[in-house]
Subunit: 433 residues, 2 copies
């Protein structure tokens, strides 16, 4: 038996606002940051669990304080017992009635709980000697169902229905593992499309994306309609007719604005409109989806939990589900989200970028392919080419696809030197680098 001996936290911030990487209609100057967590045990294997919450700068200290609040739940706990029943482990944190008041199951506290759960999964996958996607895809349907908190879901999916979905996908698992290891998983790139970039840079990056083999690009929109029309024109010309170009408004609009704006951009045939309005506005998303069909609505990076994902599906407000690795209650809640998507027949195209989101979320899509949806059809994972060098196992992109990772763990461990260099002490320590 081994015990958790420490839970260490760090406030890590990268000065990305200097280059307008990541600029969009709602987030003009993000400093990509990570509220970072390391779980250590007294086991002789020396393995650690690493995870983080992605934020965009100010408030990363608040997110770290929320991680700190979980220490008393973890330190001193029997590691084997905890990792053996991660359904219970997840509820141990999520169902703490006093902490729950701070959400419930949303915002700073819920994201912190998600990071703690993800750190435990990182540790468990390392102990199993498997990358997380393969580790999850090696579990029985019954074990997977035991990981999910079905509270508030039973009007959309029951444990028995989830079990049926997972059992249906069971026969082809080995074949799909082999296929995934051979060809990887499709990616699309947001690198060309930040609002802060010049037209020349937009044009060049669009052409590079096509040359690099990406099957889709994405552009930020929503600040100024004339700018959007000009930029989409440049992009459409650069990538050619028929090439998928998604657009992303980052919650900028009210319902009627969204419908009018997307209609004005319809001539460019957007692959989807992402986050047209508040992520909380389920009925609004449904109204927008009806108003702009056949253009599809994508959302999810700010969807707080499975209860909101459930309703977006029930209401017909989400044609593409964009799960995020660090927004909800960790791997466990994201398994619930994947099962909901499978039940409603909606493709999952995760949100990524930021810091480490690509590294983390690829495991969930790959698990989904092997053990849940059983398909990559119409699926792809967002990709942005920055900050990967700070991770121990950075993602590898080859001809527009994520190369399937084989290193044990969840991909969420940061390089020690990067942690040191970018730890925030009230100023950007990395500023002089």
């Amino acid at each position: 038996m081994s015990t958790i001996v420490s839970v260490d936290t760090r406030d890590i911030r990268f000065p990305t606002s200097r280059f307008l990487d990541g600029s969009d209609a709602m987030n003009p100057d993000p400093d990509y940051s990570a509220a970072y967590l390391t779980i250590r045990t007294d086991a002789p294997d020396g393995l650690e669990g690493h995870a983080f919450v992605f934020t965009i700068g100010r408030g990363n200290d608040v997110q770290v304080a929320a991680l700190e609040a979980l220490r008393e739940h973890l330190v001193g706990r029997d590691v084997e017992a905890l990792l053996a029943d991660m359904g219970a482990g997840s509820k141990l944190l999520t169902h703490d009635s006093q902490l729950r008041w701070l959400g419930p199951e949303k915002g700073v506290m819920h994201m912190a709980i998600g990071a703690a759960i993800n750190a435990l999964w990182d540790l468990r996958a390392k102990r199993a000697g498997q990358p997380l996607w393969l580790h999850l895809a090696s579990l029985s349907p019954e074990e997977l169902v035991s990981l999910v908190d079905f509270r508030y879901l039973s009007d959309a999916i029951t444990p028995d229905e989830a079990l049926a979905i997972l059992r249906d996908a069971e026969p082809g698992r080995a074949e799909r593992v082999a296929h995934l290891l051979e060809v990887g998983y499709p990616a699309y790139t947001t690198t060309p499309g930040w609002l802060g970039y010049s037209d020349e840079k937009l044009d060049r990056l669009c052409r590079e994306a096509v040359a690099d083999g990406f099957p889709q690009i994405k552009l930020k929109v929503g600040s100024d309609l004339d700018d959007d029309i000009r930029r989409l024109g440049i992009a459409r010309k650069a990538v050619g007719d028929g090439f998928p170009v998604a657009i992303d408004a980052n919650q900028r609009w009210d319902v009627s604005d969204a419908i009018a704006w997307v209609k004005a951009l319809a001539e460019f045939e957007p692959a989807w409109i992402e986050e047209p309005t508040s992520p909380d506005d389920i009925l609004g998303h449904a109204a927008i989806a009806r108003g702009i069909a056949p253009v599809r609505v994508a959302t999810g990076e700010h969807v707080q939990n499975r209860v909101v994902f459930k309703q977006l599906l029930q209401a017909g407000g989400m044609d593409v589900m964009q799960i995020d690795a660090t927004r909800v209650g960790g791997v466990n809640e994201n398994i619930a989200n994947l099962l909901l998507a499978a039940k409603f027949g909606v493709p999952v195209c995760p949100h990524a970028g930021g810091v480490g989101l690509c590294e983390a979320v690829q495991h969930l899509s790959m698990f989904d392919y092997v053990a849940v949806s059983g398909t990559m059809e119409g699926r792809m994972i967002e990709y942005v080419d920055h900050l990967h060098e700070h991770f121990v196992t950075p993602v590898v992109i080859d001809r527009g696809r994520y190369v399937t990772p084989t290193t044990p763990g969840a991909g969420t461990e940061m390089v020690p030197a990067s942690i040191e260099q970018y730890t925030w002490h009230g100023a950007h320590a990395g500023a002089t680098a």
Copy 2:
């Protein structure tokens, strides 16, 4: 001109779990707490702004960390300019794009922003020499509309519609102020109904509530159906036929459970069922409302923001709106909520109890009566009789009604000795009191 010179925070916790006050189906052992904020200026008047976020114990430190994160937005700012345009002041905090990522507009960060806004209102009302309810009710319809962030609301209510509602209520304001000062505002009591109380105590407290003149009581339900039937039987017998008895499940159920459980309790004619399921489940609330009609659905104490309130109204999932003074983005967002309720013709019966929630929220109901809905018909404010002694201007209840406060300010200032005694240092300092 004066300047904000300090923003001080305190982690204040009361050891309420020892007596099972506040015990319900989801919160078995709350320690009522306040993440407390004091804004001081260099003005010669020496007036301060006080406010807090109510929590139930663990995590109050996280909430304090979120208050701390707002200091840099406030210290050094011109007080008169800030207070003169509280619409802009509210957006200054709510629209900080980096902090917004931590919600958006929900959970720990949003509640902290709400507390900062409430502290500014406390200061402004004190400077005006008016209790907050009267101060708000003295503003013109145009000024009130300028306080509201209509983003994401325009499919339900526009600024022009809000203006029309406020103008309609304008002629009777002076009369209603006089009436309010004379008769106060109706209260209902939750004191009898906590799950942790014995049958004997329940019976006694129900009889006392009626004798004290309260027009309604509320019982916690949802842990065990047989217990609920027995306890509702005791309560019904104690208060007599026809006396309103509301019930509160504190988010315990899924949709179908809620419908079945409430139907099983229908013989006791509940005045409403409160929080039957997740506060995030708009479609679930609507399904429950359809399934249990004519029993009414009440919710709101955990509703994160105006966008969710909007949808609960649009979907027909909320027959009674229960705003909370410290859950959303402060006075400003609660004015939006009151306007939404007026637009949809739904009565507002605020959530209170906890620590200081009665002191704070009474001002919003009284403002609503004078300047928004123009009526107390079917309205009442929750009341629980603990912890009032810790406030400088504790609520006064007389024959089942809140006595209208006349002291300048928002009612949110705590007694210095209580702040000292109950400041948390990792243990209940008040334990030996």
